[in-house]
C-alpha cells in the first residue's frame, strides 16, 4: 500500500503570500494514495523536518512529497530527513512551488492552482518511485600517473606526500619530459633543469613512488576505484637492481652516432644510453634497433664486458605487468607540430629552420652545442634570427584553430636569450597577436621589446627561402600594410603544441574522451577542469590543452588533490539514480552504447530460459562505477529496456499526465 504524505512549506511568506498553502494541502488530500497533508512555516528548518519525521511514524507514510523551494535548494535536506525517519531517501519528491510558482506568479488563485498541479505531479511521480540504494565501491588506494613530465612528477609527489602509493609510467628512459629539455623559463629566466632536477630526485627517492620508465600502458580495465592496468615494461637489457649507473657502458659503446631525441636529433647518443646526465632512473637502456649485439647475432658485447656489476642481460624481454589502481592521472604532455602542411616555411627542408624546442636545445648548456647558439647547417653563430609565432596554431583552414598559448612567451624568452648570448644578433618576431595573460608576463614581453630591442613585426610569414648563405623570410607587416623581407641566419618556428601522436589511441584504451584535436576532454570546461568524463581518471598538463609550466603544475596539484580526496574515503558512494537494464527486454542492439559519455555500457552474456531450452545471448549492462545517470541511453534504447532509475518512463509519464490535467 502506498501511503503518501504531502508537506506544503510556507517559506515564511515567500510561498504563502502568493499561494494559498492550505488550499494546496487540501487539494492534495484528494489525490490517489495521499493519506496525509499539512503545511508548515519552514519545512527545511529543524522543526519542519521533525514534523515530517513525526508524520511518517504517525501515519505510516512510505512516500513523501515536500512542496517547497527548488529541489536544487533542499532536495538533499529532505531526502536525509525522510531517511532518518526510515523511508528510503528516493521515495521523496520535491514540488517546486516557490521558484516556479509563488515567486513568478503574483495572482494568488492562479499561483495556488498551479502549485496544486505541481504537487499533483510530484504525487503522481512519487507513487511510481522505487527505493534506490547508493552503491558502495571499494577503492584501491594506489594511483597511476601516466607520463613523467613536470605534470606527472608534480601530481605523483603531491599524492605520495599525502601517504598514497603512486606508480609513474614513463615511455622514455627517464622522467623529466619536456621541461628537462628547456633552457630557461619565463618570466623569471630560472634555469629549467635547476628547478626540475630536485623534483626528479624527489620522485626517484620517494618511498611511495615507483617509476616504471621505458614503459607504456597496454590496457586499462575496470572503473573508478578499481582499475586494472596492464603496463608494458619494455626490455631494457639492463638489470636495474644491479646497475649503479656508473656510465662505463655508455661511454664505451662503439655505436656512438645515433640521433638523440632528447636533443631533438641535434646531438648524438650511443646505443646504450640514458636520456641525459641527470636521468632518473639512472639506469641505461639498450636501443635494440641500433645495437650491434642485436643487429649482428650476438657480436660486440662491449657493454657486457665493461660493466663492473654484470648488469647487462641481453636476454631480457618485454614484460606485461598487471596492477590495480584506484585512480589514474593522465599527464602525457605534448609534442610540437611537424608543420608538414606548411612547406612554405621549409621546416625539414632547410636545416636552419627549426622549432622552438630545437632552439631550446641549442641554447641550453646541456645541449649539443653546450649552450653556444650555432646554426645547424654549418655551426656558425647566427647574427639574425627570425621567430615565427602561431606556426600551425590559429589556422582553421589547415586544421588547427586553437592558440598554443605558451609560444608568445617562450619566443620572447628565446629572443632575450639570443640577445644575451649574442648581443650583436638581431631578433625579429613575426606575430599575429601577442598574448601575455599571466602574472608578470606583459612586463616580460615589454622587456624583450624595450630592454633587449627585439623587433616585433605584426604579420604572417608567407615564405622562407635560402639566398646565398642565409635565409630570407618574406611576409607582410600588417601594421604598416606593406610586404617585408628579413634576412635571417636562423628561423625559429613556434610550432603548435599538439597532443602526443598516440593520444587518441591511449584515450580509447583508458576510456576517456578527447576533442577533435585529440586533447583529452575535461568533464566540465569550467567546473570540473581536471576531471575526465570517466570517474577516477584525472587530467594534468598539456594532454588536456596547451598550457605553460605554472598552469601545468597547478593543474597537476589539483588533479592530485582530486585523487587524494577520493582515497581519503572508506568507499566511493555511487549515485543511486543510475541506468539499469531490463535484460528480458534488451535485444543487444547496443544503440545505447555510443551515446554514453562515460563508456559505462558493456556487453554481457546471459543465460535465458526459452521453453525447455536454455539459450545464451548478449545484452547491455551498465557499470555503476562509471554511469553518471544522464539517461541518454534510455532514449536511444528503442524498446525501453534501458531505464534510468529516478527518472523512469513511468515516472515522467505520470508527471506529464498530471500536469496536463
Amino acid at each position: 500500500m502506498k501511503r503518501i504524505g504531502v508537506f506544503v512549506c510556507h517559506c515564511g511568506t515567500n510561498i504563502a503570500a502568493t499561494v494559498d498553502v492550505e488550499k494546496v494541502a487540501e487539494s492534495a488530500r484528494h489525490l490517489p494514495h495521499v493519506v496525509f497533508a499539512t503545511t508548515y512555516k519552514f519545512m527545511c528548518a529543524d522543526p519542519g523536518q521533525k514534523l515530517i519525521a513525526d508524520a511518517i511514524r504517525e501515519h505510516a507514510l512510505n512516500r513523501v512529497v515536500v512542496a517547497a523551494c527548488s529541489p536544487h535548494m533542499h532536495e538533499r535536506t529532505f531526502r536525509k530527513a525522510v531517511e532518518r525517519a526510515g523511508v528510503n531517501p528516493y521515495l521523496m519528491e520535491v514540488a517546486n512551488v516557490r521558484e516556479q510558482c509563488s515567486w513568478v506568479h503574483r495572482d494568488k488563485p492562479v499561483g495556488t492552482e498551479k502549485a496544486a498541479a505541481l504537487v499533483a505531479a510530484a504525487v503522481a511521480k512519487v507513487a511510481r518511485n522505487v527505493p534506490l540504494e547508493s552503491g558502495k565501491l571499494p577503492v584501491e588506494r594506489r594511483a597511476l600517473v601516466v607520463g613523467g613530465g613536470i605534470a606527472g612528477i608534480q601530481a605523483a609527489l603531491d599524492i605520495a606526500e599525502s601517504g598514497y602509493h603512486v606508480t609513474i609510467v614513463e615511455r622514455e628512459q627517464s622522467v623529466g619530459g619536456r621541461m628537462a629539455q628547456l633552457d630557461k623559463t619565463f618570466p623569471t629566466l630560472d634555469c629549467s633543469s635547476c628547478i626540475l632536477t630536485p623534483k626528479m630526485v624527489d620522485v626517484g627517492h620517494h618511498p611511495m613512488i615507483e617509476i616504471c620508465s621505458y614503459s607504456e600502458i597496454e590496457s586499462v580495465e575496470g572503473y573508478v576505484g578499481n582499475f586494472e592496468v596492464t603496463i608494458r615494461r619494455k626490455a631494457t637489457s639492463v638489470d636495474p637492481d644491479v646497475c649503479t649507473g656508473c656510465g662505463e657502458c655508455w661511454n664505451r659503446c662503439p655505436v656512438k652516432k645515433l640521433p638523440s631525441s632528447f636533443n631533438m636529433d641535434l646531438g648524438h647518443r650511443p646505443a646504450i644510453y640514458v636520456d641525459f646526465p641527470q636521468a632518473i632512473p639512472n639506469v641505461p637502456v639498450i636501443d635494440r634497433a641500433n645495437c650491434t649485439y642485436y643487429l649482428r647475432d650476438g657480436k660486440c658485447r662491449v657493454c657486457e664486458k665493461v660493466c663492473p656489476t654484470k648488469a647487462i642481460d641481453f636476454t631480457l624481454e618485454d614484460r606485461l605487468v598487471k596492477e590495480r589502481f584506484g585512480a589514474i592521472v593522465m599527464a602525457t604532455g605534448f609534442q610540437t607540430a611537424s608543420l608538414q602542411q606548411y612547406p612554405e616555411w621549409g621546416l625539414g627542408t632547410y636545416p636552419d629552420v627549426v622549432t622552438g624546442l630545437h632552439f631550446e636545445r641549442l641554447v641550453s648548456s646541456t645541449g649539443p652545442t653546450e649552450g653556444k647558439i650555432k646554426r645547424p647547417s654549418d655551426g656558425k653563430e647566427p647574427k639574425s634570427v627570425v621567430f615565427v609565432l602561431c606556426a600551425g596554431s590559429r589556422d582553421e583552414a589547415r586544421g588547427r584553430s586553437y592558440c598554443s598559448k605558451a609560444c608568445c612567451m617562450y619566443s620572447a624568452k628565446q629572443a632575450i636569450l639570443l640577445r644575451e648570448k649574442i648581443p650583436q644578433a638581431q631578433a625579429h618576431v613575426f606575430y599575429m597577436d601577442i598574448r601575455t595573460a599571466g602574472k608578470d608576463y606583459e612586463e616580460f614581453y615589454m622587456r624583450a621589446k624595450e630592454e633587449y630591442g627585439v623587433n616585433y613585426i605584426r604579420g604572417r610569414v608567407a615564405k622562407v627561402y635560402p639566398e646565398k648563405d642565409h635565409l630570407v623570410v618574406r611576409g607582410e607587416d600588417t601594421l604598416l600594410g606593406r610586404p617585408v623581407a628579413v634576412e635571417a641566419d636562423m628561423v625559429v618556428l613556434a610550432a603548435a603544441i599538439e597532443p602526443r601522436a598516440d593520444a587518441a589511441a591511449l584515450a580509447q584504451k583508458v576510456g576517456i574522451s578527447y576533442n577533435r584535436d585529440h586533447f583529452f576532454s575535461e568533464a566540465h570546461p569550467k567546473l570540473r577542469p581536471v576531471e575526465s568524463n570517466t570517474g577516477g581518471v584525472f587530467l594534468a598538463g598539456c594532454c588536456q590543452g596547451p598550457k605553460d609550466i605554472p598552469e601545468t603544475v597547478a593543474q597537476a596539484s589539483a588533479a592530485a588533490a582530486k585523487v587524494v580526496q577520493m582515497f581519503s574515503k572508506d568507499a566511493l558512494v555511487s549515485e543511486a539514480q543510475l541506468a539499469s537494464v531490463n535484460e528480458a527486454w534488451c535485444i543487444g542492439c547496443f544503440l545505447c552504447q555510443p551515446v554514453c559519455p562515460y563508456k559505462a555500457i558493456q556487453p554481457k552474456e546471459i543465460e535465458e530460459r526459452r521453453g525447455r531450452d536454455k539459450i545464451k545471448r548478449t545484452v547491455s549492462s551498465v557499470n555503476t562505477g562509471l554511469c553518471q545517470g544522464c539517461g541518454a541511453c534510455a532514449v536511444a534504447c528503442p524498446s525501453g529496456a534501458m531505464r534510468l532509475n529516478g527518472f523512469t518512463d513511468e515516472q515522467i509519464l505520470a508527471e506529464v499526465d498530471a500536469v496536463c490535467l
Binding site: A45, G631, A632, E655
Partner: protein, 171 residues
Amino acid sequence: MPVNESAAAEAEMMTEAEMTTDGASGAGADAGTGTWEPRIVAFCCNWCSYAGADLAGTSRKQYPANIRIVRVPCSGRINPQYILRAFQRGADGVMVAGCHPGDCHYTTGNYYTRRRFSVVQRFLEYVGLHPDRFSGHWISGSEGEKFVQTAREFTEKVRSLGPNEKMRDVL
C-alpha cells in the same frame, strides 16, 4: 542535522515589495475566469534550463502560469514520445529546453537532443502539428531572463492558436 532556520528566515525577509513588477500577469488555466488558457508542458534539463527557471524565480521575474515544468536530468533524457504523450493528455504546447550545445553537464547529451529533435520537430510539423505548438530552446542556468522571455513568447503564440485538437485524447 543541518539547521536551515537562517536560510529560511533570509528568504522570508524578501518582501513582496522586492518582487519585480514587470511581466504578464500569470493567468492560470481556467482560474475561475471561465476563459480558456493554454496548457504548456516544458521539459527542462536539471542543470541548465531548470536552473534558469529557478533563477527567474529568485529574481522574481513574472511569467505566465501556463508553463508547467517537468524536470529531467538532461535534455538527452527527453524521449520524443513524452512530447506526444503531453499532446495526447491535453497540452496545447510543448517546450523542450536544455543546456547550450557544448555546455552539457554530461558533455554530450544535448548534442543527441539536437539531432533527435531536428528530425522530430520537422516530422511533427509534417504530420500536421502546428509548428508553433512545439519548440526547443537552449537556456543556461544564468539565463533566467531568457527563460522568462521564452515562456512569455511561447505562451502567447500558443494562446493565439487556440486549443490544440491534434492528438488530444481527453475524456
